[in-house]
């Protein structure tokens, strides 16, 4: 089936458009998260979402209404743990994540069964995006990107040296909390649209790829966003050509781009070593 034919399908068009927005969203947020050692927060919050959906089904409340507040609280909880309990982000995420999934399993057990399979309920798929999900994703992307754009230098300062940022009058407590909440909402909503594999990968891979090559913070953000879009769009087209599962293809594309960046950086370093005069 030709690629042109594919592009006539609504679900492919939505995959491309929604994918692009989510790509930029996760890439920019991802740079901040990776630099602060919160790379696995996507997975961690996904586990919490699992527990919160179980809670929602248990209490017979529409799960998304319960998930978003609970995941937001957990995100703040992770933040607090890193501040008070002398932990780095990865350990704090592990704690909250385990709690979420264990809670969900127990709830599922106590409830004696639900009317729908929890996992299939939670995780979307990029090939199955509906119009409402498209609007939500675009709306969310714009909000988060606006915040990052407007507070760009404050976020930069805080990520580089939180103490100094505070002495510059940056409200680090509030900004940290805002970032935690935005991350939570991003993870829950994008997970329901494209699934956790893709969300986690898009939060981490473009960011680490950018870190291989970037010579400035602004550059890092731009490279991450570009790499992310290329992964998504390129991944979709490749999956059309080869008839591969699209989500997984996108992730593979991301990994390939990372390896390319790594090779490029290594090559640059070698060049430097052998010809010190060359930039």
């Amino acid at each position: 089936m030709g690629i042109v034919e594919y592009l006539q399908y609504g679900f492919i068009q939505r995959a491309l458009l929604c994918g692009a927005f989510i790509a930029i969203l996760c890439a920019t947020l991802g740079v901040v998260l990776v630099l602060r050692r919160f790379s696995l927060i996507g997975d961690g919050l996904a586990h919490v979402t699992f527990g919160s959906v179980a809670l929602g089904l248990f209490l017979r409340i529409y799960p998304l209404y319960i998930s978003i507040p609970i995941v937001m609280l957990s995100s703040l909880g992770i933040l607090k743990l890193t501040q008070r309990a002398r932990l780095y982000g990865d350990a704090a995420i592990g704690i909250v994540s385990s709690f979420g999934i264990a809670g969900g399993v127990i709830l599922a057990s106590v409830a004696g069964g639900f009317n729908v399979d929890l996992f299939s309920y939670l995780f979307g798929n990029i090939l199955a995006i509906g119009p409402e999900e498209l609007y939500i994703s675009i709306g969310l992307s714009m909000v988060v990107l606006a915040v990052i754009f407007l507070y760009f230098n404050e976020i930069f300062s805080m990520t580089f040296d939180e103490e100094f940022a505070r002495v510059s009058g940056v409200g680090t407590e509030k900004l940290n909390a805002v970032l935690a909440l935005l991350t939570a909402i991003t993870v829950v909503l994008t997970m329901s649209v494209v699934g956790i594999m893709l969300v986690s990968a898009l939060l981490i891979l473009p960011a680490v790829t950018a870190l291989q090559l970037a010579r400035s913070f602004r550059g890092a953000m731009l490279i991450a966003a570009s790499v992310s879009i290329v992964s998504v769009i390129g991944g979709i087209f490749i999956s059309l050509a080869l008839n591969f599962p699209t989500g997984a293809t996108i992730v593979m594309m991301g990994i390939f781009l990372f390896l390319a960046a790594f090779a490029l950086r290594t090559a640059r370093q070698q060049l430097h070593r052998n010809h010190p005069g060359i930039y």
Binding site: Y6, Y9, F11, G112, F114, D117, P245, T246
Partner: protein
């Protein structure tokens, strides 16, 4: 707080937890009746019909759970150890059952592989049908109970297993099994009658492949988005193919499955403007269906109605 105090409090805490968990409910063995543990819903329903009052049948899978994602909990292991009979479909359908059985040292328990005897003709026939559809290349369709002739054989296997464990009840088991198989035979002929002369000769599914053997039995084609494993991700090709098939066959309905969120089916329906109808694979029931007391035959009857609508049969 001194180190000594911390240690003593921890010890006290640990003792309390141990004492509290010891009070937990011990699995009660009902007096006289056979304890039968089944894995999936069809086996549960078959066993209930065959054993009637002579046994207490329980279903391992909790309501609402999709069998492929199932992981046995401690209470499940306990149930297994206090069961007299354990019935499962096949190692392909429930791979986790193999692990469960490995841990079992009690030789007194009667283990019933319900798919016994389905290895020769029936399974090979299913295999042949599977090979003819490019979407399902290698495996045999493990959803054996959806071909009612297989289901009848499964009922017989269950009957034999119960007799082996409880010879005293042989007459009752024979009678009940025969009666239930009559119902299945009747179901089969009603299906055959209803599904001839349908306008659409293809069951189009927006979910996993489960009705391969059922379709083949009544001379219908069958396509689905995924293969057997629910972990698989759909490819753009598989989704587009279903959309194309719907258009080609001029079908106005797309079938979706039970329990799993029909995300992909909904996407295809939105794309093609068809309506969604459920085809229940009977792996397991929702909490509601279970409380309501739905039966296998009841579910298959509903399926038949839905098939008649979806395939536009006279």
């Amino acid at each position: 707080m001194s180190r000594n105090a911390v240690f003593r409090i921890s010890l006290l805490f640990a003792l309390c937890i141990i004492a509290w968990s010891c009070q937990g409910k011990v699995a009660e063995k009902p007096t006289g009746k056979l304890a039968v543990l089944t894995t999936l819903f069809p086996l549960y329903d078959f066993a209930k019909n065959v054993a009637a009052d002579r046994a207490e049948i329980s279903l391992l899978l909790p309501p609402g759970m999709e069998p492929h994602g199932f992981e046995p909990r401690p209470a499940d292991i306990l149930k297994l150890h206090s069961a007299d009979v354990f019935i499962y479909t096949s190692p392909e359908m429930e791979p986790w059952s193999v692990n469960l059985l490995r841990g079992l040292q009690d030789r007194k328990i009667e283990i019933v592989n319900a798919s016994l005897g389905l290895t020769s003709d029936e399974k090979r026939a299913a295999e042949r049908h599977a090979h003819s559809d490019p979407a399902h290349k290698t495996d045999v369709d493990p959803h054996l109970w959806l071909d009612f002739s297989n289901a009848m054989r499964m009922v017989d296997n269950i009957r034999d297993g119960l007799i082996r464990k409880d010879p005293a009840g042989k007459d009752i088991y024979d009678k009940n099994a025969a009666a239930y198989n009559e119902k299945l035979k009747d179901l089969d002929s009603r299906y055959r009658a209803a599904l001839t002369g349908c306008r659409v000769r293809c069951i189009i599914s927006g979910g996993h492949s489960a009705f391969q053997s059922l379709a083949a039995r009544y001379g219908l084609e069958y396509v689905s988005v995924y293969g057997f494993s629910p972990d698989a991700e759909p490819t753009p090709g598989s989704i587009a193919r279903i959309a194309r098939t719907l258009r080609q066959k001029g079908s106005r309905y797309l079938f979706y499955e039970e329990l799993l969120d029909p995300r992909v089916a909904r996407t295809i329906a939105r794309e093609t403007g068809v309506s969604l109808i459920r085809l229940h694979g009977a792996h397991n029931l929702t909490r509601e269906e279970f409380d309501r007391g739905d039966t296998f035959i009841g579910i298959m009857n509903t399926n038949l109605d839905h098939l008649k609508t979806g395939l536009e049969c006279p």
